[in-house]
Symmetry: C2
Subunit: 245 residues, 2 copies
DNA sequence: CACTATTTCAAACGTTCGTTTTAATGTTAG
DNA sequence: CTAACATTAAAACGAACGTTTGAAATAGTG
């Protein structure tokens, strides 16, 4: 029985703190006492308001993904309505799907870069309940955008499109996770590449914008790359590197 | 006792089991008792042979990455020696860097897909000691390949190359992690896309090969995509390759 | 053989985990 | 007011955590 009149101050503070701590340390490495301590609420508050630690993580994502998925569907609906019956351009589809997400990084009320980083880091979490949750949350949106890409690229085998959608999701997920070894090796993170100071905070919104500027051409280039010549299973790939076998 | 064990037998069995369990459940969600139980060794064996749980994870990676990094450097050395003083082709560099890794997935003695999945899932782990470890392991290889790409693409701003190397790492990392929501949503994983049975096992080596066939054109297309028009002065449109057959 | 170093083993260490309990405190409507 | 409900509070729960201990077993060497 959801009661909208209840006091949401404790609830929201828990969600905000959990979002940040789950991002910084991961789900397993974040304890209830870390969360309730940072949120300055009682230890039992999480179980009272959400039921369990797993349900807390789900709610942390649900309040962001419900907006994201709705927005993604609405943008696609709008594009397809404008196009009449003609297929959309791949660049439009990518902009709708990835641009909508990256725009969340510029809006603190939508979670900002904190949520984006959390999302990127959690998408590769092997925990069963997490993957099951994401599968349910993403099912409709993925299906709609997949079919839009099928229509946009009628000459490309659908299996190939699925592969490349998979790769594009990976490039984006990893990019927003912000844990790249490159950043530690080169001593400069995305923030420095974006020309801003490295400190997290308000500068993150600029980071999200520049990330989108850089990511979109890359994804489009990958999506429209020449198809690999399909060989019989016994035949091996083209050899442009020295033999290693 | 079912069979006699030598000194290194315990060590190696712990490493093999830890590699699989860390992949399946993640570092934090894998307990020492799960590892020693599955390896059929005493609980204290891990601390005796490796010192700590963190040190065990480092050793799990070190025994694989030492081979991978050495191989990557040797392949690059060989390519640059063959090329004389001329710059390498981007496709050669990508094949050397990503192809070498993906070939590990075909060789069970190098860890196979189990290690590849573990690597992909761990690269986005926020734990401090993990990121510090990866930074040290990858420093030399990243630097060498980065500079090779700089020479191969002299007209592309170096910051742009770093961005795209970042995106390529992400696409590969996410792909080998094998946790994509697409797989759960569409009900078919990479194994099905590869035309093989979905069961993990020997079929995984075929998966690694087909993954490489699909991933390499995508990465090359992304790397050579038209540059985003920003405040960049020269050479913005270098090479467009939309040949969606 | 005796001696030493290495490895295995069962048991326990102290700590932290997520969760539950029970009571106290606000809050709201009749 | 008071009865009913919603929320917070302190304390404790049993279980599981990574690690350590000290003795027993094994292997290697002269």
């Amino acid at each position: 029985m959801p009661d909208q009149r209840t006091n949401h101050d404790t609830r929201d503070r828990i969600l905000d703190v959990a979002e940040r701590l789950f991002m910084e340390h991961g789900y397993e490495a974040t304890s209830m006492r870390m969360i309730t301590g940072a949120a300055e609420v009682n230890l039992a508050a999480v179980n009272y308001h959400f039921g369990s630690k797993e349900a807390l993580l789900r709610e942390v994502f649900r309040r962001r993904l419900s907006w994201l998925n709705r927005e993604r569907l609405e943008v696609l609906d709008r594009l397809e309505a404008q196009a009449g019956g003609t297929p959309l351009k791949p660049s439009q589809i990518l902009e709708a799907f990835f641009g909508t997400l990256l725009r969340m990084g510029e809006d603190e009320s939508l979670g900002g870069m904190t949520f984006l980083r959390l999302l990127g880091r959690t998408l590769t979490d092997p925990a069963e309940f997490i993957r099951h949750f994401f599968a349910g949350e993403y099912a409709e949106v993925i299906d709609r955008y997949k079919r839009a890409l099928f229509r946009a690229l009628p000459d490309v085998p659908q299996a190939e499109i699925v592969w490349r959608l998979h790769f594009m999701l990976g490039a984006m997920s990893y990019a927003i996770a912000g844990t790249d070894v490159l950043q530690v090796v080169t001593g400069c993170g995305l923030s420095d590449l974006a020309g801003e100071n490295g400190a997290q905070g308000p500068g993150d919104t600029a980071l999200a914008r520049r990330l989108a500027q850089r990511l979109m051409p890359f994804l489009l280039g990958g999506l429209r790359a020449p198809l690999p010549q399909l060989l019989d299973p016994s035949g091996n790939q083209q050899e442009s590197s020295p033999k290693t076998a």
